[in-house]
């Protein structure tokens, strides 16, 4: 064997050994450069090929080429191995560690309850309506069949406002904060010919000292339906539908005769469910309702012989408190993030 050929095998073996010994991509690159780089040992052998005789050259070329292919293949294998090793995590992931959380905010619990109520009413064809929170005596009381000296006004202690305007307090048209969403009944009926089918969520105000069940600001929902031949049976049917939607299908509803100046006959609504039983009560009062008083219809210019209707209203806080077991109304207005996160 010519002397040149004998030089190939040891360099190749040395290169293969170093390639397989290279522990990382840097070491591998060094090895590559030291053998296959322009000044590398194997490259030096290649460079010698030109110095060989014509006879020696084919054989040597063949041998060198085979060795080169082998080395490059070994290099590629090693590279691939080391590359994939480099991609491996430095330490394994602890899948029980908490991740980087993105925060999704939440609707206020009162908004959630309001939306649930609105959703149930909309299912049965109600439109949402709205009206001002600053009202006049007429829309809040007089038009609702509650004249100024009416004893029913005692139960609704009212906040009055100092305000400028062409109708001052002097002529009995003082401004006030609405004590109920029922004022919107009048606002809507004044503008809209019957039939009317609306639901009115909103803030209302009563001059009660704040305690566990009272806040001067709270929310109500009013429902009003005026059409031809609307009956007490219709009222019952809708109320039952809505409360079953809200409080669960096993909810039972009871109507009791009561008194509101703007409905006649009037009823209070009690409900009974697992929630009330948990509170140790067979029935829990939840809402007031009744057939729209003909005087109210007449006050907005409707013909009370042709049109009849029902209205009902309830407190959203009360529903939320019962539903979620919240025992203090003030929690709703403190906006403690621990509470907001819970619902």
């Amino acid at each position: 064997m010519p002397e040149f050929l004998t030089q190939i095998e040891p360099v190749k073996q040395q290169a293969l050994a170093q390639l397989s010994a290279a522990g990382d991509l840097g070491a591998l690159e060094q090895t590559r450069v030291s053998f296959l780089g322009s000044h590398g040992k194997f490259t030096a052998l290649l460079k010698q090929l030109g110095t060989l005789s014509k006879e020696e050259r084919p054989m040597a070329g063949k041998a060198l080429n085979a060795a080169k292919v082998e080395l490059e293949s070994a290099l590629a294998d090693r590279l691939s191995l080391l590359e994939s090793r480099a991609c491996e995590p430095k330490e394994s992931t602890d899948f029980t560690l908490p991740g980087r959380r993105r925060v999704l905010g939440k609707f206020h619990p009162l908004t959630q309850v309001t939306e649930d109520i609105v959703r149930s009413f909309r299912k049965i064809g109600f439109a949402v309506a709205d009206g001002p929170e600053v009202e006049d005596e007429y829309h809040c009381f007089n038009a609702l069949n509650t004249p100024p000296d009416h004893p029913a006004r005692d139960t609704q202690d009212t906040f009055y406002l100092f305000a400028r305007g062409d109708r001052g307090a002097e002529d009995g048209e003082s401004l006030l904060l609405r004590t109920h969403t029922s004022s919107v009944q009048i606002r809507v009926m004044e503008k809209q010919a019957p039939p009317v089918r609306i639901i009115v969520p909103g803030r209302v105000y009563r001059r009660d000292n704040a305690d566990a069940t009272h806040n001067p600001t709270f929310h109500q929902v009013e429902g009003l339906y005026v059409d031809r031949r609307v009956t007490v049976g219709d009222l019952k049917g809708t109320v039952e539908f809505v409360f079953k939607e809200l409080m669960g299908p096993e909810t039972r509803i009871r109507f009791r005769p009561h008194y509101f100046s703007y409905t006649e006959p009037s009823f209070e609504i009690d409900f009974s469910s697992a929630l009330t039983r948990k509170m140790g009560k067979a029935w829990l009062e939840i809402a007031g309702c009744g057939m729209v008083h003909p005087q109210v219809l007449e006050n907005v210019g409707y013909d009370s012989e042709e049109w009849s209707g029902w209205a009902f209203g309830f407190g959203i806080e009360r529903i939320a408190m019962i539903r979620y077991g919240i025992n203090n109304i003030r929690l709703f207005y403190e906006n403690d993030v621990r509470l907001l996160r819970q619902f």
Binding site: R197, I199, D234, G237, Y259, F267, Q295, Y333, D336
Partner: protein, 830 residues
């Protein structure tokens, strides 16, 4: 209104147990708010005598006794040994329950076999009865105890009764009396009302010639009656009277006063008793006179509670010719009240105009059982009956001699109202079919008499019953029109018997409907951005309100406190309160928004898609506000910026993303030159000529005042303007499919050069294929001279039609860079 079971039973028969009565009253519209058993814990326990006592055949420690319970002899197995034959002991009969101690389950005694021998009841120890006593074994009763006597009676306890606390609605003043409630029970059961029979002696001297009554204001006092009893003796009331009043929570005072209270509770008519001898007559008059007149402005009067009160016209007074003696319908006078020396009594039974009593009572802040009844409306027809009833009971309890007859000043007796009922209206409103007879029957059970049948309206179906006119008793002040009669029908028929009809009818419409959805959409976006929704108080303090701006505030005339004396002009004071609350609870990281109304005193309010309605004098607008404080990210356990706090750019980013999602484009932000009462640094937000709102960083002084640990960032936007200006049109823009080419530029600029100024230059350069400009670095410090900053932008070029060449992009980009140098004095960093 408090009533007791036994008292009701005096006026009407019913067979309901106490619980059922409560249920029936509630379903009739008289809500039972409370129910309390009085006495009665020894129900079913009687005095019994041991007749024989033998050893139990199967148990050494037990005996088998024969015991007489007054009606029969029973066999009782007993374990006690402290008694002998002939002893009297308490015996509980089978089916009865031992007095229950708090927290224990009730124990009901049954007939049972004890070791093979039947035992028909149980002889009781003091412990078993809940009575004190150290006795080992049975309670041995006194020898004189009557066999068969109720054990409660043996103990001298009152009969068992049940106290009901009833909620009486303001429309039904007639129910503020025992008889009123009994009447309702009668209507429900069909049983007649049993009114006490009143027979008064006719022998005495006539009242005429002893006292006169002059009504000066007939409108405020339509009727005034007086009766006179002489020679009575004031003394404590007899037991029955004391007990009756005490059960319903009225303190017993003396026989005469108690009788007036008793009759008021019985029939609902407030009465007043004057010491007749304290009435003075005018000089020259033969006898004293009662004058019903309006108070003079500023007139002073001492009511019997010892308070001197300053009266105003038209408060109504009862007076004699020289002085006022009672505040009509509200409270008697100190100068004429019944006292221990009283011998002659004048009984007032009158009717006063409800509005007058209500106004007086409200103005003087003096509420009494009497004013409560008068202001709701008493029965003008009952004055005489009530007066006779009081006379009867005074004679019975205090003796004396009744002057014959009464003075009844009743210048214009009221006519009884009549209300016409059309039967079909009942059924139309209730949604059921009631027979005409049934409807009329319900009403007649309530004491409404059918007066006349109206002729059938022309064209009405022949079968339709003719409308009926009902005469309304004077005590039913609430019945005013047809629908009120319909309510009576449904009360007696029972609303539970009306079948529910499934929702049906018109589909609703209201312009607000879509606004509601848009508000919900805004809420959803804001929660999606990591904010929690808050709900603040509408009522805030004027001090806090003033922080938010200079708009004229809307103050309350009757605030509850100075903390809540104006309507919020902004949502920010409320959010600051929420931050403070959270920090006080150690919730350091808070990101909230609120969507709500604010109020400003003005003659106009924002219209458009906004609140849409306004009350003159106060403008209502919707706003959305955001508040941030504390850590930007939820706690994480790694990373250099994990402790980073919220800053103004977090807030601005939220606002920008919200605007984009909500469809608000072309917004400009202008830095305010100075701090405001709220912000140390802030900007206003405009959309063209429309003011959208402001945002900024809270003043350090306020941050301290609100006890906040970190910087607080606040924003408030006018939601009504956003609703009106949002553009929600959506249309497809083709997605560029040719490759983009990016060129980065970093340049050193004077500190005062704004991002906005750079964008202006870019805009004015009108580069054909520029797709986007993004700022990716702002740097100050090493290699950047003081007073300057380095800003790095990425420019992306792309054509929708072809692949751009490097050359054309380079050319365009060179132009742009030249503009930066020229216009902004930028030094390009290579």
């Amino acid at each position: 209104m408090k009533v007791t079971f036994n008292w009701l039973k005096q006026y009407v028969d019913f067979s309901w147990a106490p619980e059922e009565l409560a249920e029936r009253l509630t379903m009739l519209g008289i809500e039972v708010e409370g129910m309390e058993k009085l006495g009665g814990q020894f129900e079913g326990i009687v005095v019994a005598q041991v007749m024989t006592c033998d050893r139990h055949p199967n148990a050494d420690k037990l005996s088998v006794c024969r015991v007489n319970d007054g009606t029969t002899e029973r066999q009782i197995v007993c374990g006690a040994h402290n008694f002998k034959v002939g002893d009297k002991v308490p015996l509980i009969l089978p089916g009865r329950t031992l007095p229950t101690k708090p927290g224990e389950a009730p124990l009901t005694i049954k007939v049972g076999r004890i070791r093979g021998i039947e035992s028909q009841g149980m002889m009781c120890s003091p412990q078993e009865l809940g009575l004190p006593g150290e006795v080992e074994g049975l309670l041995i009763l006194r020898e004189d105890a009557k066999v068969g006597q109720r054990f409660a009676e043996y103990l001298g306890q009152k009969e068992a009764d049940v106290l009901y606390d009833l909620e009486i609605t303001p429309n039904r003043p007639d129910l503020n009396s025992i008889i009123g409630i009994a009447r309702e029970i009668g209507a429900l059961t069909g049983n007649p009302l049993k009114l006490p029979e009143i027979k008064l002696p006719e022998a005495g001297q006539a009242i005429q010639g002893r006292v006169a009554v002059e009504i000066a204001d007939r409108e405020l006092c339509p009727r005034y009656t007086a009766r006179l009893i002489r020679g009575i003796k004031i003394a404590p009331s007899p037991d029955w009277l004391k007990t009756a009043l005490e059960k319903i929570g009225i303190r017993s005072i003396s026989n005469v006063v108690d009788v007036t209270n008793y009759v008021m509770m019985e029939v609902g008519q407030p009465l007043h008793a004057f010491d007749f001898n304290l009435l003075e007559k005018a000089p020259g008059d033969a006898h004293p006179a009662i004058v019903v007149r309006r108070a003079a402005e500023g007139e002073k009067f001492m009511t019997l509670d010892g308070q001197e009160r300053t009266l105003t016209d038209p408060m109504l007074l009862i007076a004699d010719k020289t002085k006022p003696i009672a505040l009509a319908g509200v409270m008697g006078g100190h100068n004429s009240e019944i006292n221990l020396e009283t011998t002659d009594v004048l009984i007032e039974s009158a009717y006063f105009k409800p509005q007058s009593i209500r106004a007086t009572s409200k103005k003087l802040e003096l509420r009494t059982e009497s004013s409560y009844r008068f202001e709701r409306g008493c029965d003008v027809g009952i004055c005489d009956w009530a007066s006779r009833r009081a006379a009867q009971l005074i004679l019975q309890t205090a003796g004396g001699e009744l002057a014959r007859g009464l003075v009844d000043a009743y210048p214009q007796p009221v006519e009884r109202k009549q209300i016409t009922l059309r039967h079909h209206k009942v059924n139309e409103l209730l949604g059921i079919e009631l027979a005409p007879e049934q409807i009329e029957n319900y009403l007649s059970q309530l004491g409404l008499k059918a007066a006349s049948r109206k002729p059938r309206p022309v064209g009405a179906e022949a079968a339709a019953p003719a409308p009926v006119s009902f005469v309304i008793p004077t005590f039913r002040v609430d019945l005013k029109r047809e629908v009120d009669l319909i309510e009576e029908v449904v009360r007696l028929h029972g609303v539970e018997k009306i079948p529910s009809t499934p929702p049906r009818g018109a589909v609703g419409f209201n312009p607000y409907d879509s606004v509601h959805d848009q508000l919900a959409e805004a809420r959803r976006m804001l929660t999606g951005l990591g904010l929690f929704e808050a709900q603040g108080q509408t009522l805030v303090s004027d001090a806090a309100a003033k922080l938010a701006g200079a708009e004229p505030l809307v103050p309350l005339t009757n605030p509850l406190s100075s903390d809540m004396n104006v309507l919020r002009p902004s949502l920010l004071p409320g959010l600051l309160d929420a931050l403070r609350h959270n920090l006080s609870r150690k919730n350091g990281d808070v990101a909230l928004f609120e969507l709500g109304r604010v109020f400003a005193a003005s003659a106009t309010s924002t219209k458009g898609s906004g609140v849409g309605q306004e009350t003159p004098g106060v403008g209502e607008t919707r706003r959305v506000a955001i508040a941030l404080t504390g850590n930007r990210q939820p706690l994480f356990w790694s990373g250099a910026d994990r402790e980073a706090k919220f800053d103004l750019y977090d807030l601005k980013g939220l606002i920008e993303e919200f605007f984009e999602q909500f469809g608000i484009r072309g917004v400009t932000y202008s830095r305010r030159a100075d701090s405001t009462p709220l912000f140390i640094e802030s900007a206003t937000i405009q959309l063209g000529k429309f003011y959208l709102g402001q945002f900024g960083q809270l003043l350090p002084a306020l941050r301290k005042e609100y006890d906040l640990a970190d910087a607080a960032l606040l924003a408030e936007l006018d939601l009504d303007v956003l609703l009106a200006r949002r553009n929600t049109t959506k249309s497809f823009k083709p997605l560029g499919s040719f490759p983009p080419i990016r060129r980065d530029v970093a340049m050193v600029l004077p500190e005062a050069t704004t991002h906005e100024a750079i964008l202006q230059v870019v805009k004015q350069s009108k580069l054909a294929h520029l797709e986007s400009v993004e700022l990716f670095d702002v740097f100050r410090g090493k290699n950047v001279p003081a007073g300057q900053k380095s800003m790095a932008y990425a420019f992306t070029y792309r054509s929708p039609e072809r692949t751009l060449t490097d050359a054309e992009v380079n050319a365009a980009h060179q132009d742009l860079v030249a503009h930066f140098k020229q216009r902004l004095g930028a030094a390009i960093r290579e």
